[in-house]
Point group: C2
């Protein structure tokens, strides 16, 4: 299959590109290198020593003989280059990771809010518009987020995208309907993903574009079979206050002897998935596209749920690290339950990597190995969700534990 990967240089995009290439697909990466540029802005960098995209691709070809094309295009800004590329290459599928993906970054300032909205919404719309204008029957697989659902309703399992409800009519009649799960985003970033869903629903309905939306949990782990085959292919590992996801940051904190920073009570329950399962899920999604004319196919791309303080305890028990409870910069409930359906991927044959299997490996092989590269000053999260919180924020900065 010919597959275009938008955002193919990023944390999920890079291992996905290698995984698909390794399976024998022809992969074309489109990326504007925005994630590397944001590292420059934040004066932060990956804990792991990632190489430039040119060296990544040359290494892959040297090792496997497989060639991956790369085009530096800003998908949100340069519609016509994207369209031309699609018309030239005629991919059967496009995987769309080309969005700003950190909730704390999206809340940093008005300009970061506006960048996230403008970039994410125009990127998604440009891809859809270009698929229709190309006249090609291309399957679009998009990385959504579990955050579109909000953080769950007591007693109810979060379904895969669609919620069956009953509406009572004027005549007292009950009408059963299946609706898109009512959106309840917790940040500007998450909000853009709920707006993406409306793009998808519209283009599936009006233009019969085949679309799969993958609502992913928080990704943990660093490498996949492919990215660990040579150090020059290593994947990013973010630990800074904006891009570091909770579990990876605990691992890094443990490795450098920094306390594991838990927000509020740590009572937030979140969904998780290992990066190796991410790339496998995308493979499965591409192998099982919806039919033309179908509604958007939505799958929950997660394998486990955990309470943040339980994760901290797990890592603490494994490493002897201290746990520090700090104020929560987010505007959310202190405690929540979360039950999530993920039957669709399990039925397709996903065999999850569990925390209990993989965590110790991450501690020793990644976090400890590269601990000398860590800059502890980048750990605190300086983004807060409201100006009120900013005013009341402790001088040393509020620490963030979750981001997806």
């Amino acid at each position: 299959m010919k597959i275009m990967v938008l955002g193919g240089d990023g944390f999920c995009g890079w291992p996905t590109s290698l995984h698909l290439s390794n399976l024998g697909h022809e992969v074309i990466i489109v990326d504007n290198l925005s994630r590397r540029n944001i590292d420059n802005e934040l004066e932060a960098s990956s804990l792991t020593p990632i190489t430039p995209i040119g060296m990544r691709l040359a290494t892959w070809q040297e090792l496997t003989g497989k060639r991956i094309d790369f085009h530096r295009i800003d998908v949100a800004e340069n519609y016509h280059r994207l369209l031309t590329l699609i018309k030239e290459h005629k991919p059967q599928a496009i995987v769309h990771f080309a969005e700003q993906r950190a909730a704390p970054y999206s809340m940093k300032s008005p300009s970061h809010k506006r960048y996230t909205v403008n970039n994410n919404l125009n990127a998604t719309h440009n891809v859809l518009c270009a698929i229709v204008e190309s006249g090609l029957d291309i399957h679009l697989a998009h990385l959504g987020t579990m955050g579109v659902y909000g953080y769950g309703t007591a007693g109810m399992k979060i379904p895969e995208g669609y919620l069956p409800v009953e509406v009572v009519t004027e005549d007292g009649e009950r009408v059963r309907q299946e609706i898109l799960y009512p959106a309840n985003p917790g940040s500007i970033y998450h909000m853009t993903k709920t707006q993406d869903q409306l793009f998808f629903a519209y283009y599936a309905k009006n233009d019969q574009v085949r679309i799969t939306d993958l609502h992913q949990g928080i990704v943990w782990g660093t490498n996949t079979n492919e990215t660990s085959s040579d150090e020059r292919l290593i994947n990013r590992f973010d630990y800074d206050g904006d891009y570091g996801t909770v579990l990876n940051r605990f691992l890094m904190q443990a490795a450098i002897g920094y306390p594991l920073t838990v927000h509020g009570t740590g009572g937030q329950t979140r969904a998780f998935i290992h990066i190796q399962d991410t790339v496998r899920c995308i493979q499965l999604a591409l192998e099982n596209p919806p039919e033309k004319g179908d509604r958007v196919k939505i799958l929950n791309q997660m394998t486990e749920t955990h309470r943040v303080r339980d994760l901290a305890t797990l890592v603490s028990d494994m490493t002897g690290s201290e746990i520090a409870f700090v104020p929560n910069p987010r505007n959310e409930s202190a405690e929540n339950d979360l039950h999530v359906k993920n039957d669709l991927f399990l039925e397709l044959g996903l065999n999850p990597t569990t925390l209990s299997q993989g965590l110790l490996f991450e501690v020793t092989e990644v976090a400890k190995r590269y601990a000398h590269r860590a800059d502890p000053s980048k750990i605190p999260c300086t983004s807060t969700w409201t100006t009120k919180q900013q005013a009341g924020k402790p001088k040393e900065g509020v620490l963030d534990t979750v981001s997806s």
Copy 2:
């Protein structure tokens, strides 16, 4: 009250600005004149002879002694000028009309789709972001559309924004919830308004911005008490294939002896409101803002529903015009019922202008009076909803009857 009107030079914005000014409010118009520029692009113009914004404002001051400020700012592009203006003027309310508002225009080409998405979403987000950044407690009243609801469900009255539903939990327990009415937009334009709703829900929740979203029906009529007080204040009347709304176009077609063009069976039921009621509704919305911390206040801004072919018959009976049935460029059901709640405005004292009262006046005072200005070549709608329709479109162009 000090009120900023974004899009205050447009079809709804101009009469609203005059109405609010006449009530004694201090009005500041912000507009990039995009609607006049689109006239240049489409080589079309208002049936009525609208004057430039400078002459409009000078005339208003000459007649009433009241001054309305005007700033030519692109709200979607120039965030910092908008923010500065808000900080300088400290308005108590902002009325937001600054969006591309024609469904057929939004479907004209990929570039029109992309313009509508980029303009409407960035405009709305910039306004919200600027309100939060200003630190002021400003009530935002936004013009939404009945189109966010789709075209109704048999037997069910469309509520005002929120739908009570029952969800069945894993334990078989029924949980009642009130959710934002599931969006079902019929065009790119309507889709942007459903995405606006998610901006509003988020900013009301996270930042306690006070927001009213007015889901307006198709506006008919041309003038209000204020715009009819001097010909230099006259409001626009669009009859072209992109911007002309169904009833106004029937009136103009009758006036120039062109057949009344009905799409398909004309079985589409739509909601309507007279422009005089539009300005009164906005006044009522501004006088009755939500409290800080409330969810978004949603009101249906419409007064009657009619089937398109019944409207054609009404105008035909009144004028002796022929009716011509032509292919429908839209991707929609041929026939639909529509029942809409509008209790909130009626409770606030709205006393609707009905079609039966106002229609004959429009025919004689506007359509016939300015019929000599009509260019019949601009009547056909050349936008179609899908490329398939484009391929099958009759040579003489498909005619459009509805737009809102």
